[in-house]
Symmetry: C2
Subunit: 183 residues, 2 copies
């Protein structure tokens, strides 16, 4: 079973953060847009169970993602199952229709512009996402995918990386929670 | 919205039926195996709501299918949404895991050997499936996919085709229902 081990920080000045990365010879991708449609479960209150189900559009590519409850108090470590769907807007519309037919309901759409970088740290490559989230703010996320036995090591690795950038106060709430709170 | 207009008949002697088709110069495909995993909804009793959600494996190909309630008393006409999933057994295992994570539960597996034929009738090509269903029996299904405005015409077309083969007493229950009833 794969877990997503993640820390997220509000970073008001993304260009200053970018410069720190490029100063370390880390290259940053061009921005791409991700549009996430979050769905409510027909019988569970995901905001109570701390789960999420979403459809993500990234250019022509589509994905479905399930996120399980966070398993610790410090990071955003959680089970994640992400699966590719057929390409294109028609596929996404059909998936929305199928999920609605079985009782799922669209809750909100989170749009962000994301740049990615692979940051070498303690012998690993930590994925960093530089996010401008519409209606929410600017953030940096650090992420490793880990097996159950590797979760602790992965957590320590990304905590130490974040500290090296002076990032201390992490944000455990999801972009969806932050968006809904702001409304 | 697409509807599946379908009639199914128990046909004890499939080879005699096959011969009737080939006598009319209709070619029949080689058999392939379809393995359908039916899933129970976390909050709805699909046997009461007359819906179904299944994962289908057909060689290396995988599909998810939602079937809505039957909309008339005579045929098996119902809304159907079928979407392709990524290929291979690992993809199917991940899909099963995702659906289980959001509360769906495997109910039963229906295995069948299916041959297909496209039967010209009244200017349409009706899909005929010659099915040997493990633990259930042998059947012929006639099917057309129709828009809402075309449902009546499609129904009449396949009823007339079935009559031309002397098939009168249709079976409206699904293979899943027949399998569970026989257990």
């Amino acid at each position: 079973m794969s877990y997503e081990v993640e820390l997220k920080f509000p970073v008001p000045d993304l260009s200053a953060f970018s410069k720190k990365l490029t100063d370390q010879a880390v290259s940053i991708s061009l921005p791409h847009e991700e549009i996430d449609l979050y769905l409510a479960h027909p019988a569970r209150d995901f905001s109570q169970t701390d789960e999420a189900l979403r459809l993500r559009r990234k250019g022509d590519a589509n994905f479905i993602t399930y996120k399980g409850p966070k398993i610790d108090a410090a990071t955003k470590t959680r089970r994640e199952i992400e699966l590719p769907l057929a390409l294109g807007p028609e596929s996404l519309a059909s998936w929305t229709a199928l999920l609605e037919a079985i009782g799922f309901r669209p809750v909100a759409e989170v749009k962000k512009s994301r740049r990615k970088a692979a940051v070498p740290w303690q012998g690993r490559r930590v994925e960093a996402c530089l996010d401008e989230v519409a209606g929410v703010g600017t953030f940096v996320e650090f992420e490793l995918i880990a097996d159950e036995s590797q979760i602790d090591a992965a957590r320590k690795c990304i905590q130490s990386l974040a500290q090296s950038f002076g990032l201390i106060q992490s944000e455990r709430r999801s972009y969806l929670e932050l968006l809904l709170k702001g409304k």
